[in-house]
Symmetry: C2
Subunit: 678 residues, 2 copies
């Protein structure tokens, strides 16, 4: 098997089977695709490693995703378990480890399509929340797969608001056990992955009661299935929650506990312990827990949100360079749909956003690494900023990528709607990222709360974290741009975003402050906050959008790689920034910072940029370097043979593999009854 | 079976099983739900008829949609055929006819989930395009189901741009036949419904060639499967195109033609004929064809776009009144999520839009009926306006409803993501409406072309159709609002929308004109047009948005029904209008028509309205009068017992009906291998 992407990016000759419409797009690239790929990967050595891992996975037939679009939920689950088990073997063979440099490439290659992801969360929660003895007991069992773990937090009635969980764990001092119960239907655990059919154990989060007093939510290790025959343990009712919009391969489960007893040692007790006599002891700081959430949200951005957008752009842009429809000029050949301004305006901003978020991911990762070093020195000062940024960016990026994937899907017309395009499954999967690991609106309000707090502090001259110092430093003014070219100056547009963010925070800050005044006159404090939340969400988005633009501009500034990279990245940065202004003109016009005339200049520059970037659109998606197997798309393959592939793939569909019983049962009697009457 | 919706709306006592959180919402309704329902239906008599039809369908187990979320594509298809065949019988039994008043209610009741919808298009195309003899021959056969028809227009390589179709039909004067061919893979028919597995006949659109000359696209009746045993006819290659994002019940198909011969009489020849010697004769006006497209687009708005949005609002709003999460005030019970401003801001504008579009549908229907009367008098003058409005509104409404359904889905958090919520399937289905029957961007550009033409005509004093006279009449000015209450005046906000639409058309009109000037200096005319298209699309949307607001305000003005209907409809109209301004502030701020200070008033009034309409939110969705069976949602049922229903429905999932082979094959060996090593 020869991978055409690598053939070309490695400088070999193009395969003759590439659609000429796509081949032409590559001949005119203004930059070196291979250099851009290496720069995105963080160096040519990492590119080499990534390709080696991806090749090893994709050349192994057990990991094939070829029939994925034809499989039932049961088949998808079975395949995911098969892959997960095989992956253990593969990793052993290849000498890969879970904390090695290969791991993120493995995940990229299997496209998340394996079971036991919650088993990893199970292990992480024990490592984070368990005592040394608990870690020593459970981690070896789990890492050797002597048990399969899950993580039972969410309930039917409660998700993001953890304090509201209703499962109970009552300490029985006579037997030294906790008795776990699901007191009502809304308390049933619901959604945990790997729990519906696979897990033997799980970490259950429950309200701890000792001598009738509630001590809040605590984690307990509970065995739910027999290690011998996988039957449910006594007092356990568990199963699969049924069909979902995607994630058919995961057995999201439910769990009801009926007086299930676990020994005292099964409460994870790094931070608090119940002593034999029922005395409750708290120890150490739980602040580190926030750090875990932060780390999960940041890894979600790079693992779950950005790659689907990059894939969707790859598919839609390659297809748009191959699809010809209608004529731009009478008498000429039909035009590539990528040549229509409306199509460019759909796709190219998504492409620019994919790059923008790739760089924000680097920014967050760096911030996180710095924070981690501080925390190891027991300095928790960076936590609030890290928490606010990871929450805000998780929300902004997942929201933006979801809508970007949808735009790509719709931009491919009818064929985008076929599962064989790969786009529907990218969409139905990424949309879930707006909900899990913290619902986006809730997260943005957490960011907003941090911003308002910093704004208030900055107003009174107190020092604030680096990412928000601008809230105090900015002064009112007008945008100094004099013509459309001025809007291609990063200082001009970054300043505009900063102004908009300050104004948005300041306005809601002052509204919140005003409402706080009202509290004196009878409006309740929480009412006041609730009445500002729509605008607070806007403020949080404006802040994150500003940082994204600023970071993109700074990244471009620092590029040292040759090969035309800086020039094209500058265009993309301009496009990302101007698209944001063009799509939210009101934010910039409201106080006259940008005038109506200036906004017309923005529009003109923005539309000009579309035509410029269009020329490099295909090379820019090629640089993401997704293999055909990882795209799994009849529309997006490197060779652009879309119609042939749609036709060939459709042949494999189960709808073409059997005569439907509908003919014998219904169609034949219908047609023949009438025929017999003739 | 007693339907709880009817129990209540008919004034009987509430069932005791209704969740008290939902029951409370209904006790405080500010208006009569039953009166609103009747008014929406167009009178109490129609409500009665609708309920009778829906009851007859839903009480028949053949039409059950109970297991729909668990079925494979093959099972969905089989069920759709079963329902379609049974529906014929049912209609006969009940005395319903296809052109009777019951028909639209039947469609509502089966939720589009039947086969043979393309059979109806097959018949309509023969009726519209066929000669009297052709109609006399084919329509009885089709209506008696002596054949099953399809409609083969779209090809792999061409959709909206019909002139580009590549299938050929060459007239053979010696045999008096047309020879149909698929000359290349992109010419393969692709997507036609009912064609993959059901149809025996289809109308094929092909480029007609006579003596080597091409006469453009013409329709031909072609038999594709044997009436005796359903085998493919000679020269026919056909099958199913495979899995899609939804519409699994429809056998969208492909068709390749290899020198398939049909007699000369099989070309539909109402408007043109090939005579035996090969002479091509054109007769009559084809303008009526535009009228058909217009009629399809208008019926699509009421049949496919608005009901899913209404259903999604019903599900999401009922659920939000039952779901409690986190606390608004410390020490109190957890709050209903509908009490959070951010949740209101997600859902209530969608509710207002559902009403707005219901009234636009009435407006378009009336315009259409008037146009139809004119056309019967051979007056085609209304056609351009009707075409422009139906195109623009098809695009605006499908786009808006799609995004509304998505917002509802996401507003339900994790449970919205379960298929059992009913929301994913509403979304995956409605998104297709943005593409079929004319891709939305293409349609908006047709509307824009009409607007620019009218704008140019109006500028030179020529008369223009009624819906666009405002383009000439409007004068520049400033919004006269002085405080936030002024923005609740329909004259104030309607004027603002009108101003924005005029400015948008005027600006692109002038840009287009300016570019036309440029043509003199070398820019090509079609380039010039292409460079304006992003803004032309905005102009078309602004026009349709203005008409929607104006029509809503006029509808409210004219309400005579008592029972508090006018008051609540006025609130919804205000909300729809202010939401549009709040979400597109730049459009109104750009030229200073609305000032920054005034925009703050808009925001204040808009946020106030959310709290007001929230009180009636549940009664407002109850008034849509969807039965539990038609919602098919564990979250949206009338009784609000969401957790119980999620649990019960999950039990029925095939994922819980069998032990997965994955245990024996993979999990057991994994767990036991390790255990044996202990």
């Amino acid at each position: 098997f020869r991978n055409p992407v690598h053939m070309v990016t490695m400088g070999q000759t193009r395969s003759e089977s590439v659609n000429p419409d796509l081949a032409n797009e590559r001949q005119t690239a203004s930059f070196s695709v291979e250099k851009l790929t290496a720069w995105l990967d963080g160096g040519a050595e990492r590119t080499r490693l990534r390709r080696a891992v991806v090749d090893a996975i994709e050349s192994d037939p057990v990991f094939s995703r070829e029939n994925q679009y034809f499989q039932s939920q049961n088949e998808r689950y079975e395949a995911a378990v098969r892959k997960a088990v095989h992956l253990q073997k593969k990793m052993h063979e290849m000498g890969w480890s879970e904390d090695g440099p290969e791991f993120k490439y493995i995940y990229r290659a299997v496209a998340g399509d394996v079971a036991f992801l919650l088993h990893r969360i199970f292990m992480r929660s024990i490592s984070m929340l368990g005592s040394d003895e608990q870690v020593a007991k459970w981690i070896p069992l789990a890492s050797q797969y002597q048990l399969i773990g899950s993580y039972a937090q969410t309930e039917l009635g409660h998700g993001t608001y953890l304090q509201g969980l209703e499962t109970t764990a009552v300490f029985d001092v006579t037997t030294q056990e906790f008795i776990l119960n699901t007191p009502k239907i809304s308390a049933m655990k619901w959604w945990p992955g790997d729990m519906g059919r696979s897990a033997t154990h799980t970490v259950v989060f429950a309200q701890l009661y000792i001598h009738g007093k509630c001590y809040g939510i605590h984690p307990f290790i509970v065995q739910i299935r027999s290690l011998q025959d996988h039957s449910l343990c006594p007092g356990i009712i568990a199963g699969d929650i049924g069909p979902k919009m995607n994630f058919e391969h995961i057995d999201n489960g439910y769990l009801m506990l009926q007086s299930v007893r676990v020994p005292r040692e099964n409460m994870l007790n790094k931070f608090c312990e119940v002593q034999p006599d029922g005395t409750y002891v708290r120890r150490g700081s739980q602040k580190i827990n926030y750090f875990t959430m932060t780390s999960v949200r940041i890894s979600l951005i790079s693992g779950e949100a950005i790659p689907p957008l990059m894939k969707a752009c790859t598919i839609a842009i390659r297809y748009s360079a191959v699809r010809r429809q209608s004529k731009l000029k009478p008498g000429e050949q039909e035009a590539k749909i990528l040549d229509y301004q409306t199509q460019q305006e759909k796709l190219l901003p998504q492409l620019a956003a994919a790059y923008a978020f790739h760089f924000i991911d680097d920014y967050l990762q760096e911030l996180f690494d710095r924070g981690y070093r501080e925390i190891q020195r027991k300095n928790f000062d960076t936590l609030p900023e890290l928490h606010a940024l990871s929450s805000g960016f998780k929300a902004l990026v997942t929201q933006y990528c979801t809508s970007g994937v949808e735009i790509c899907l719709r931009a491919c017309g009818g064929h985008g709607y076929s599962l064989l395009s790969g786009l529907p499954s990218l969409y139905t999967k990424i949309i879930a990222s707006c909900i899990y690991e913290g619902e986006n609106t809730v997260l943005l309000l957490q960011t907003a709360r941090f911003l308002i707090k910093c704004f208030m502090a900055a107003s009174t001259g107190q020092s604030v974290p680096p990412s928000v110092t601008y809230l105090a430093a900015a002064k009112p003014g007008k945008c100094p741009a004099k013509n459309k070219l001025d809007f291609l100056r990063p200082d001009i547009y970054t300043e505009a975003y900063q102004h908009a963010a300050v104004r948005s925070v300041w306005r809601t800050g002052s509204t919140a402050a005003k409402l706080q005044d009202l509290i004196q006159s009878g409006v309740k404090k929480h009412d006041a906050w609730n009445r500002c939340t729509v605008q607070l969400v806007q403020a949080a988005k404006a802040h994150c959008h500003y940082i994204t633009v600023k970071n993109f501009a700074e990244t471009v500034e620092k590029i040292e790689t040759k090969g035309g990279i800086q020039r094209i990245m500058k265009h993309l940065c301009d496009l990302f920034a101007l698209h944001g202004i063009f799509s939210n003109t009101g934010v910039f016009l409201h106080d006259g910072y940008i005038s109506g005339e200036q906004m017309d200049m923005v529009t003109a520059s923005y539309l000009d940029l579309l035509a410029i970037i269009r020329k490099d659109a295909v090379p820019l998606v090629d640089a993401f370097d997704f293999t055909d197997k990882s795209l799994n798309s009849a529309l997006g393959s490197y060779d652009g043979q879309v119609y042939q592939r749609l036709y060939e793939w459709a042949q494999k569909s189960p709808t073409n593999k059997q005569i439907s019983p509908a003919y014998g049962k219904y169609l034949k009697p219908l047609l023949h009854n009438r025929l017999s009457k003739l």
